[in-house]
């Protein structure tokens, strides 16, 4: 299980990175955390001709938070973001989800932006990006552009990033104070990819649910925004009936692919339970809730 040979590039600046990537087009594979890429290369399931190591681009090693957003640069490691107090305050769903990403040693190397760009359908961070309606900043030779999360995930491991482009930042809109949030997942073992996971944010206003957001991971080709579940929650009373209805609506029509860890019907059941639990957690935490 030794990787095949490749040409190695290590740009020292963003300009250099963009130039190299532009030149290589789809022959260039970006290496940031490498926690997903290198295992694939060891199996020789990925054999890129060129690897572009972006770990020297220190300008992207940042986590900036203000009232409006938490901006995570391409090189911010998952553990750094997880431990950041401002993230805990302004994007608590992100912090909670990070606790489910593999194990700390992996999070020391893995990057938040990298995980979003990798777009594994079972991964937590793409689902969080979708839930919080994040914006991905992407830079290429033709300049910089912003891509909304809802337009970003195209399929399993497929995003709107073009060959030659580098994702440089993911900006997560800050959750308003008092927002309830909950991220849960069910996995076979601690740290594994989820059989199904759910992320929820919502608010309580005058005893009613407002601004509900519900996402699922591990149940389709991309993370899914469960619009029907959100409709079931919106304006509803924070009770068991509403939650149950929303959970049922969330899994209506989904077709999680079957594999050795679970068939489709099983995964739908698990997903439904995760949605229910995530909503319950969010209600508990919302200002005006029981928590």
């Amino acid at each position: 299980m030794k990787p095949a040979a490749f040409e190695y590039h290590r740009p020292e600046s963003a300009e250099e990175a963009v130039a190299v990537l532009g030149r290589l087009g789809d022959e260039g594979r970006i290496l940031a955390g490498g926690q997903s890429l290198v295992p694939l290369m060891n199996f020789r399931l990925a054999q890129p001709e060129h690897v572009v190591d972006v770990n020297r681009l220190g300008e992207f090693d940042y986590v900036q938070a203000d009232d409006r957003a938490v901006r995570v640069g391409a090189l911010a490691r998952q553990s750094t973001v997880e431990m950041d107090a401002a993230v805990a305050e302004r994007a608590p769903l992100l912090r909670e989800a990070l606790g489910f990403v593999a194990h700390p040693p992996i999070r020391h190397r893995g990057t938040v932006v990298g995980s979003v760009a990798h777009a594994d359908p079972a991964a937590e961070l793409p689902a969080v990006a979708l839930c919080l309606e994040a914006t991905v900043t992407v830079r290429g030779e033709r300049g910089e552009r912003q891509i909304a999360a809802k337009d970003f995930f195209l399929g399993p491991f497929e995003t709107a990033i073009e060959p030659g482009e580098l994702a440089t930042e993911v900006a997560f809109p800050a959750s308003a104070p008092g927002t309830g949030y909950g991220f849960v997942e069910f996995a076979r073992r601690h740290g594994d990819f989820a059989i199904a996971g759910a992320g929820v944010t919502l608010a309580l206003r005058d005893g009613r649910i407002a601004d509900p957001r519900v996402v699922l991971c591990g149940v389709g080709p991309t993370p899914l925004r469960a619009a029907a579940a959100e409709r079931a929650l919106d304006g509803g009373a924070p009770d068991e009936e509403t939650i149950a209805a929303a959970a049922a609506a969330a899994v209506e029509g989904i077709e999680p692919p079957a594999d050795m860890h679970g068939g489709t019907r099983y995964r739908i059941g698990v997903a439904r339970a995760q949605v229910r639990r995530a909503i319950a957690k969010a209600l508990d935490r919302a200002e005006g809730g029981e928590g």
């Binding site: 040979a5 594994d192 860890h261």
Partner: protein, 816 residues
């Protein structure tokens, strides 16, 4: 009462020796410092000048004819020294040693020649300067295959005579036989109740963190082949491996090296050795074949049993077991190099700890297009344990009797030992009720049942399960051939030899054979046994692992035999040394040898302790002062001793009595408390207790380590681990992302207790305990899940009981 066949005396029950000084103490292990410092040298760590690296080209098909193998492009790749196809290999090395039923028909070669029979089977090997370069070249080997229909389902393969794994065999059934012991038919006819069960123990694997590996160095001038390997060699059988390599029997030296775990995976795993040897012969340089994880999962010969059971238990209306029938189909994969030894292990204790008077065992060993089975902790007896405990639990449910009490009333009683079970095997000693009561106490059974009721009232699906299982140790060679009426050789030797050398300073050095260090504390066991005999700190003893060349007969680890066999061998060698030392001391003290006694590290005159010779002084005298020795003694102070199996008897000709082949019978009781989440099928372990009886304990802490580690594997077998082959024979679980070994979060904290019912046939009354835990936990977990889901009438019939399977069972019963 049984008779010891060696001494022809009755075997009395024994007490544990009371005057032990080292045995029974949880001393720090002597091997640890080097591993803690990262200085343990596993095979993958070793290197030799000029050494080359091998990478095996593996088949992507489960069943296909090999039409051609084009190695021209591969041979031209950088750093490549040789590329050898299966056909070319067959000219250089012979088939591997094979204890299967028909080695001439299911020919086991290191690389496939005519066709491939499982995904991952080796087709060619590349030898290059580095593993990286070898893998580059491997990608360039062009193999043309003609795919054949895949034989994936053993129950279909049984009947299929048109599509065969081995055409020369004429069938996919490698072995089929029914053994009947006692009046099974009569006992079933007379029974009040017959309980039936149907089970499937799915394939998993030992999956140690280290892989099998070997480095071969061949000297064409002398014909010597040196193999540095982490597999055992079994000294007296190494001539078979030498023959495979076309090396003279006295020119093969298999040198054992530590392995990062084995759990059976390194048990006579000779494929890597022959691959390396092949490479060494072809290139004339040292060649290392060190499996990586993918090699090992696909082609490592370390898969577990894969069994389909139909069981029947005959009992009286008040729950006394009378007779037990097993009908088992075992999917061995494409080869069967250990024969049906895993069923010998089963038959050693097939009736469990119960007074069942008759039993029948129908075995069909089937071949399919999967990697072959090897040995995995329990070696088939863990599966049989699970099977009988499943049907006993079913019986308890049917009779509405507490499962602990149903077991208790059927136990073999203390005054019945030594006890022959219907198959003929001897249970040397035991006190099962004592273990049960201790376990119930450790677990707080009454308290936990109350707690369970409280939690169930809250709507939580909480269950408690209990099992009482045997743990046989110290196998005899007979279990490898009593399957056949006309075996090729009625081997009865499974010896263990040690060499003990005392240096002039009085320091001890022991050489062990056929033993790679696998984590099973072989150093510490040997050191503590020696410490007991010589009154020295175990940390001061020098330990050496000898190769097969000039090595003593030894079989090494396996079947939890090692500590028992070391105890006998070391006792014997120590005795010889002490005898010589006594005579030298007598000379030194000008006393009569008969008037001396060993005391506290030296010999002294009985009743006159000041008249004393320290062992160190005796040793110095022995080495340097020849003229001070008794006339008939030579210089030096060393001894070898080979210890044979302490109690083996022959099977009867008609095989209605298999003889005694696995008599050192340990026992354990495990209890588990679990909660099942009905939305996800997830199982959380709330409490777990294990009480083991492995006779006299040498190092209790070390034994506990085995119990916990074994239980962790058993829990994983119950919930997590499965090697899944699809209907095209593709292995789906090829990485650690899919083969789910437990992390610290999946393994419970164990409450552990010990009982010591000494063996009457071993030194110090020791029994083997190394396979501990794995032989019990699957049953305990299954029972706990059943109990948690009792209102759905769930009965775990498949392991692993994955979350999805659990919900399916619930759903089936609930009718949804």
């Amino acid at each position: 009462m049984a008779t010891n066949p060696r001494t022809n005396t009755e075997i009395p029950l024994v007490e544990k020796p009371s005057d032990l000084k080292w045995i029974g103490k949880s001393v720090k292990r002597v091997e640890d410092p080097k591993y803690l410092r990262g200085l343990g040298k596993y095979v993958a760590d070793l290197g030799f000048d000029g050494m080359l690296h091998a990478a095996v080209v593996r088949s992507p098909y489960a069943h296909a004819r090999i039409l051609s193998v084009d190695t021209s492009a591969a041979r031209a790749m950088p750093g490549v020294r040789a590329v050898v196809t299966g056909a070319e290999a067959a000219e250089i090395v012979d088939p591997l040693p094979d204890s299967g039923p028909a080695p001439e028909q299911h020919v086991l070669r290191v690389l496939a020649v005519d066709k491939v029979r499982y995904v991952g089977e080796g087709v060619a090997v590349v030898i290059a300067d580095t593993r990286y370069l070898a893998e580059d070249a491997r990608d360039m080997v062009l193999v043309e295959y003609e795919p054949l229909d895949v034989i994936a389902d053993p129950l279909v393969a049984l009947a299929d005579t048109s599509n065969l794994v081995h055409d020369d065999l004429g069938t996919n059934i490698a072995y089929e036989r029914t053994f009947t012991f006692g009046d099974v038919e009569g006992d079933f006819a007379a029974a009040d109740i017959i309980v039936k069960d149907k089970l499937h123990w799915h394939r998993c694997a030992a999956q140690a963190l280290d892989n099998s590996g070997a480095i071969a160095i061949y000297d064409a001038g002398s014909g010597e082949m040196t193999l540095h390997t982490n597999s055992i060699s079994i000294t007296s059988f190494s001539f078979g491996l030498a023959a495979s390599m076309r090396v003279a029997s006295n020119k093969l030296n298999m040198v054992p090296h530590p392995s990062g775990g084995s759990f059976g995976a390194r048990f006579s795993n000779w494929r890597t050795a022959v691959t390396a040897a092949l490479g060494a012969k072809v290139t004339g340089r040292p060649v290392k074949y060190s499996e990586d994880r993918l090699d090992h999962i696909l082609n490592g010969d370390q898969h577990s049993s894969d069994r389909y059971y139909e069981l029947e238990l005959a009992m009286t209306e008040d729950g006394i077991f009378k007779s037990y029938r097993t009908d088992v189909v075992d999917d061995y994969g494409a080869y069967i190099y250990l024969g049906v030894g895993t069923h010998g292990n089963a038959m050693a204790q097939v009736v469990g700890p119960y007074r069942i008077q008759s039993t029948e065992y129908r075995l069909r060993a089937v071949l399919t297009n999967k990697c072959q089975q090897g040995a995995y902790r329990g070696f088939g007896a863990e599966v049989a344990n699970w099977a009988i405990e499943r049907i006993v639990d079913k019986a308890a449910r049917q009779l509405d009797i507490d499962p602990a009490e149903l077991r208790r009333k059927n136990f073999i009683q203390p005054d019945q030992f030594p006890y022959h079970i219907p198959t003929g095997n001897l249970y040397d000693s035991g006190d099962y009720e004592r273990v049960l009561d201790h376990a119930l106490d450790e677990f707080d059974y009454a308290g936990m049942r109350a707690e369970q009721e409280r939690m169930r009232a809250e709507g939580r699906n909480v269950g408690i399960g209990i099992v009482s299982c045997q743990e046989r140790s110290v196998y005899s060679a007979t279990e490898f051939w009593f399957w056949f009426d006309e075996p090729a050789a009625e081997v009865t030797s499974t010896p263990e030899g040690v060499k003990l050398v005392v240096d002039p300073m009085g320091n001890l050095n022991v050489t062990l054979y056929s033993t790679p260090f696998w984590g099973n504390s072989s150093d510490t066991m040997a050191a503590m046994l020696l410490a007991e005999d010589f009154d020295v700190d175990p940390q001061t003893i020098g330990i050496d692992y000898g190769g097969t060349k000039g090595g003593l007969p030894a079989a090494g680890p396996g079947g939890s035999r090692l500590t028992v066999m070391y105890a006998g061998a070391i006792r014997g060698a120590a005795g010889k040394i002490k005898e010589k030392a006594r005579r030298i001391a007598a000379e030194m003290l000008e006393a009569d040898a008969d008037d001396l006694e060993w005391s506290d590290g030296g010999f002294q005159v009985v009743g006159s302790p000041s008249s004393r010779a320290e062992f160190a002084d005796i040793a110095m005298t022995a080495h340097l002062f020849a003229t001070k020795l008794p006339d008939d003694l030579q210089s030096g102070l060393e001894a070898t001793h080979v210890y044979d199996h302490p109690y083996t008897t022959m099977p009867s000709k008609d095989r209605s009595d298999l003889g005694s082949f696995y008599p050192c019978m340990g026992h354990a009781c495990h209890l588990a408390m679990v909660e099942v989440d009905l939305e996800t099928g997830g199982v959380e372990i709330l409490r777990y207790a294990a009480v083991h009886d492995a006779g006299t304990m040498v190092n209790p802490r070390s034994l506990e380590g085995q119990i916990i580690g074994g239980t962790a594997q058993g829990v994983a077998t119950a919930l997590l681990e499965e090697l899944v082959y699809d209907d095209q024979g593709q292995l789906l679980s090829t990485s650690f992302m899919d083969f789910l070994m437990p992390t610290a979060m999946e393994v419970p904290e164990l409450l552990i207790g010990h009982e010591e019912t000494p063996s009457p046939i071993t030194e110090y009354g020791i029994k083997g305990g190394g396979e501990a835990g794995r032989m019990m936990a699957p049953g305990a977990m299954s029972a706990a899940i059943d109990d948690a889901l009792r209102e759905y009438d769930v009965h775990v019939t498949d392991l692993p009981a994955t979350p999805e399977r659990i919900l399916d069972w619930v759903g089936q019963k609930a009718g949804s």
